[in-house]
Symmetry: none
Subunit: 222 residues, 2 copies
DNA sequence: GGTCCGCGTTAAGAATCCCTTAAGGTTCGC
DNA sequence: GCGAACCTTAAGGGATTCTTAACGCGGACC
């Protein structure tokens, strides 16, 4: 699902217009026209969801709550011109941005791209990498096996790799960011932390890959 | 403090205008012009706070975080016209509404009244975290074992952790919010309060977890 | 005014945690 | 097969936190 976007919008004219705009911008829009149809869709099947709050059937806000229970997928709200309180509630429930009707197609595309460019950047304190979940706010990491009991350094290493999930991070960068800069002695210290981190990760340890001659990488697939 | 409102706004002309508007609407505005002055104000001394995000000194977003640590007071954000991302961040951090500059005085007053009418204060007078219940109004905490006899500082620590239930809260943040800022002496004071709090919590003490190298966390499950 | 009591703070030793180092083994690239 | 890079284990010691006891300030009560 490279660029699949779910559009939940009951207004036929507006929906058609948005679908066309998204297609031209290189996205792959899927359009459903009422809340009840949207209820049972798996949000993780999409890169982003555009949600109109004024819907027949299930109310938009309930859909947002429902999606947020299962997934971290970015959600962009469409709202009527003056409905500030809905915007406020939506954003507090975890929406990533809002667009006020009426809008120019270019604005919508720009907002979508902004959301995708910084997925979860807006103070979303949770990172998910494969089967590893990290909650920066709670300062807690968990895998399928349950919560992990990590030391501060282990947690920081994992969080750092998770923030750059999929890419190799150099040993120096990790040491700089995580370890006490005063002790720039032994180069083996990081190994030890990584080793213990792996043993605590259990099955998910396979995701913490060594990149030979460079450093480490947290694979985003198990 | 029947209608006391705190206005944090650096622009002199705008501030004056808002003060006048609020006075005419029957409020009692207090105006500070920079973030540093606003830092040490007790937010619970006001019924509502109006916060401009673009400030000299302490940044508005930091003020918002700071207020939210201590208090549930409604906060209304003033933001520049196009600064959507600031709005989004502010609302996620717990602001109650936003007003875009420039605005009509009537709009501001209407928004303030809507905030005050909203029952979110009443809702949050009681906090429940696992088997711990806290009534901010009665200033009373209880567990399965019955009501606790807490000192003011102990109660504040518990309430602060409860407001951010599940999240790790740093020692500094707790000390800042709860203890006398004049005495920034021994770093062990907080330990003692926590220790005594735990002994009073009885079985529920297990919920008050130490987050090593960070601070404490009140687990939302027993 | 004097005394008592509640409460925040300080101090100090104990307990716990965890970062680092060292040493020997393993894997990788060539 | 060789050297370099990396992994694992164990142990020491420093840092952080916990607990207990005592101090002192301030308000309440007599």
């Amino acid at each position: 699902m490279p660029n699949r976007i779910l559009l939940v919008e009951d207004d036929a004219a507006l929906g058609q217009q948005v679908v066309q705009t998204l297609s031209q911008a290189g996205f792959d829009p899927h359009w459903v026209q009422d809340g009840d149809s949207a209820r049972d869709i798996d949000p993780d099947g999409y890169r982003l969801i555009i949600l109109d709050l004024m819907l027949p059937g299930t109310y938009g806000m309930d859909l947002l709550k429902r999606y947020r229970l299962k997934s971290e997928v970015p959600v962009l709200i469409l709202s009527a011109r003056d409905d500030t309180s809905d915007k406020v509630r939506g954003l507090k429930l975890g929406a990533d941005d809002y667009v006020t009707k009426p809008f120019f197609p270019e604005e919508l595309v720009a907002r979508i791209q902004a959301c995708l460019r910084r997925p979860n950047l807006i103070e979303t304190q949770r990172l998910t990498v494969g089967s590893i979940q990290i909650d920066l706010e709670r300062r807690e990491a968990r895998t399928a096996g349950g919560a992990l009991s990590l030391t501060p350094v282990e947690f920081e290493i994992l969080a750092l790799l998770a923030r750059r999930k999929g890419s190799a991070v150099s040993r120096d960068a990790i040491v700089d960011a995580v370890l006490d800069p005063a002790h720039d002695g032994s180069r083996r210290t990081l190994d030890v932390h990584v080793s213990r981190l792996r043993s605590k990760l259990g099955d998910a340890a396979a995701q913490l890959e060594t990149v030979w001659g460079i450093g480490y990488r947290l694979a985003d697939r198990p």
